[in-house]
């Protein structure tokens, strides 16, 4: 895929110096964006690693909670189970702050519980409920901080993946299109200018010859 195109400009010194300036800022921009991309990528890979591990842990814990729940559902009546969970004592709210990673703004979640007492996760008396329900609720409560962190990391990964893709496109556009185009056009103008210069020199020499010949009869 090679498509170096000369830009449509007049071959003048003015354009030449303009293009040279553009080329140098394109090169500088390319370097900066490349650094940005590399740093984003480095941080992204760290996050992905954590994300992977955390997701595996969360999925394992949730599967366990689900197993408890399935058992609870089989020994208790569905309605009793639902009623037991209907009026939670606990309440969760999220406080959100911002983190800036290489100009990507990433939300940071901080879970706030209404009550600090960990036994408040049980919204029911134990008389009519199965012990497996307790197990399920406990397992969920244990894994919940990890789930919040997971939500945070997955969002961060998605946002960073977007930014990396954008940055990569910009780097590629500069590297493969804009910079080669500028270089090609600069080369063309330089050649055109020196060609003009040569032709001017030649005609000057010719004129000089003619003038000398006329006035002094020189050869």
């Amino acid at each position: 895929m090679s498509r170096v195109a000369r830009l449509n400009v007049n071959p003048t010194r003015m354009e030449l110096s303009k293009l040279k300036k553009k080329l140098s800022s394109a090169r500088r921009g390319h370097k900066l964006l490349k650094d940005k991309r590399d740093e984003l990528m480095r941080q992204f890979m760290i996050l992905i690693k954590e994300d992977r591990q955390l997701r595996a842990e969360v999925e394992a814990a949730l599967s366990e909670a689900n197993r408890y729940m399935a058992v609870a559902g089989s020994v208790m009546q569905r309605e009793v189970l639902e009623t037991a969970l209907m009026l939670p004592k606990q309440e969760v709210e999220l406080e959100i702050s911002e983190k800036n990673v290489m100009s990507v703004s990433i939300p940071v979640f901080d879970a706030k519980f209404k009550t600090d007492d960990s036994s408040d996760i049980f919204s029911y008396g134990t008389a009519f409920t199965s012990i497996d329900l307790d197990g399920a609720v406990m397992a969920l409560s244990d894994v919940f901080p990890k789930m919040i962190r997971l939500a945070e990391i997955e969002k961060a990964c998605q946002l960073m993946a977007d930014e990396i893709e954008k940055t990569r496109r910009r780097v590629n556009a500069l590297e493969h299109i804009m910079i080669p185009d500028y270089e090609e056009t600069i080369k063309f103008i330089t050649m055109k200018l020196s060609e003009n210069e040569r032709s001017t020199t030649t005609s000057l020499m010719k004129v000089k010859d003619m003038v000398l010949k006329q006035s002094h009869n020189y050869h």
């Binding site: 992977r52 959100i96 939300p107 919204s123 399920a136 997955e154 946002l159 993946a161």
Partner: protein, 106 residues
């Protein structure tokens, strides 16, 4: 800015009921159209995190993808009671593929 945000869980009754005890907003929904509307509604209000079971998420993939690049909400796939389908992990691989250009995990 100290506005408080909420956490939602969407999925079939058996998979999501337990979360109610933690004080999350639980939505027992299994129909694609209703889930789509629900996600849009939650995203527009003050829900920052939406956990959705993998089978429910599989039905509304487009809607979920729509929120991938927006700052909030964070939509996270969790396994349902029937077991882990691996969709959650797959989403992670997709993010890597988007960023790197190819899936470099495994």
């Amino acid at each position: 800015m100290s506005e408080m945000y909420k956490v939602a869980v969407i999925g079939d009754t058996a998979s999501v009921s337990g979360f109610a005890a933690l004080g999350l907003s639980v939505f027992r929904e299994t129909e694609p159209d209703k889930i789509k509307k629900l996600i849009s509604r939650l995203a527009a209000s003050d829900f920052a995190v939406i956990y959705i079971t993998e089978p429910a998420a599989a039905m509304v993939k487009d809607t979920i993808n729509k929120y991938r690049s927006s700052r909030l909400p964070s939509i996270v796939l969790i396994p349902a009671v029937e077991g882990n389908t691996g969709d959650g992990m797959r989403a992670l691989h997709e993010a890597v593929e988007k960023a790197v250009g190819s899936d470099i995990l495994n």
